[in-house]
Symmetry: C2
Subunit: 345 residues, 2 copies
């Protein structure tokens, strides 16, 4: 990381199932780990201040952080649009406002995903030239590398030009933040052949071919996991369904295996002996390693994490936000978009 | 099963990665197991006849089977429409023709999925009142019960009325073939709330509400695995992507765990001790238990299996075909469709 610059990240401390404990824990670790980080802790100061010391937020670290008071909390049950109405002074909205006002480079939230998306799109605002921001998810593939799937839920009923933009933004993200040179880009479809797909994907494929991208054609569902592509573009409806299905399937397999192993002393002993190996493998699947999903295409960095995030996931999400800011992700996205418009024009 | 009736199933013996060995093995087992089965083995007789005895197709069983000669084979690389042109005498097309001609109640094929779908739709033909046949997949959920996901690949760009019909046909299938009384039906979407979805799903939900179904609203990706629904309707694009993604993810987890356990003698020993438990669990996930995907909405039974099917999967697929014929699945589907039209009219 470029230690000479400092990037200001606003953390929605009240967001998430385990907030503010998990967010504060993640904040303390992030400040200790990342020298270039200045952290704005957005939340109810009466609740946060007494807890700071417990999570290592003390001494020198205090110079690289500040508390921004925001008394209201958006719960998981609240409507996403509540931040525009009765929850204007909620932590997520105030955090987004800091980016809008130039006080922060980006936000990190583990709270209500819909509210975080609305705050990012409407308060921070959409990047010029971007039709629709999209949510990118980094999936760990069987080659031990990441595959970026996007959109995973910010949009439905996407048009071909949206899909093409998602793929383009995903490619810039993979290159800049994940460090993958010239990422191999695919478009999710129902078969490898060009003729396979629906009306939207066929239109998007034509557009992607014209772009200055390493576009390799159609990807299939299995390609999300086998490492054949670095980036896979899709509509948010299918991306969201795949994401939720995959989480539940992986969890079901692991739980099912554990239950099965716990039946009978011999397999229990076996499970015990194999435990470190199993844990080592599970770490590879662990979403906390990846921290959160970037919402690409907004005028600032926006990382939206899982509600269940623990401290480790919060630290990872802050790291991702910092990387995106350092690598000037949005400038790179705008350059890529400008190039497309030039070619088209 | 109703032992007094005999149902005639045409097996595409040449279809599948392990054909004709796996298909013959499955055929032998099915004839031995199911008294009400009369099997038509469709394929190249010069290749099949010498192999019959080896797979137990001898003695009494021969009275309940016959060989229908079809010299051509549709490979996995062939275009689906090849059966309409140069591969008219292929095993899959000839099998479909037998149903069309009233010589068989249904077909089972483990070959080229596209060709099997074309043969079913165009040679067997679509049931009256069905707009688009759809492919249903039975997924094993974490409650140890089946969840029917459909469509998983026969259609893209489905309209609301198609999705509603898929869900209706899936419900009849779950009730008649899987024995689930009054199946709980969901519609795949991006959130539970009625307002969540795309234009197509919102339209379909309105139609499903009017039908005489146990329709419980939107399902999400995770609901495919948690047993909350018995039937989940979706467009074939998303169903296909989820199916392929899930297969690859489950395989990746199992392979990854195995690799991880094989590193170091202690975990190797552990893996060895836990092996029977692991195998017991894997059986629950095993697609061979489910045998194949029924293509619903054609004028006969059509079960399309995985190209990788082994003998066990072939037997299961034949069992499913037999069940569908015995329970007069198509009559029940037509009754359900007629009821919808009555209500609408």
């Amino acid at each position: 990381m470029d230690a000479s610059s400092v990037y200001r990240i606003a953390l929605d401390v009240m967001g998430g199932d385990h907030a503010p404990q998990a967010t504060l824990e993640g904040a303390g670790k992030a400040l200790a780990d990342f020298a270039g980080l200045h952290l704005l802790l957005v939340g109810d100061e009466t609740k946060l201040i007494p807890l700071l010391g417990h999570y290592g937020l003390k001494g020198d670290l205090l110079r690289r952080m500040e508390i921004i008071h925001a008394p209201a909390v958006v719960t998981m049950e609240d409507k996403a649009t509540s931040i525009l109405k009765d929850k204007k002074n909620s932590s997520i909205r105030v955090a987004a406002q800091l980016v809008h006002d130039g006080q922060a480079n980006g936000i990190v939230s583990m709270g209500n995903t819909g509210a975080a998306m609305v705050a990012s799109k409407l308060i921070i605002g959409t990047l010029e030239g971007v039709d629709r921001p999209c949510l990118a998810m980094v999936m760990p593939n069987t080659k031990g590398r990441p595959t970026v799937l996007l959109d995973v839920g910010a949009n439905v009923d996407s048009k071909p030009e949206h899909l093409a933009q998602f793929a383009l933004m995903g490619s810039v993200y993979a290159e800049q933040v994940l460090g993958i040179p010239r990422p191999k880009v695919g478009l999710l479809s129902v078969g490898e052949e060009e003729a396979k797909g629906n009306g939207t994907t066929k239109g998007a494929a034509q557009m992607l071919k014209e772009m200055d991208l390493n576009f390799a054609g159609n990807a299939e569902g299995n390609d999300i996991w086998n490492g054949r592509f670095d980036v896979i573009g899709c509509d948010g409806f299918v991306g969201n369904a795949i994401l939720k299905s995959s989480e539940a399937l992986a969890e079901g397999i692991v739980m099912g295996l554990r239950d099965s192993i716990n039946q009978g002393w011999m397999s229990q002993l076996g499970g015990l002996l194999a435990k470190p190996a199993i844990r080592r493998f599970m770490k590879k699947l662990d979403y906390t390693e990846y921290g959160g999903a970037p919402l690409l295409g907004v005028k600032g960095v926006s990382i939206i994490g899982h509600g269940r995030s623990n401290g480790r996931a919060v630290t990872s999400a802050i790291r991702i936000a910092l990387l995106a800011a350092e690598h000037r992700l949005n400038e790179r996205i705008q350059e890529a978009l400008a190039l497309v418009q030039q070619t088209a024009g």
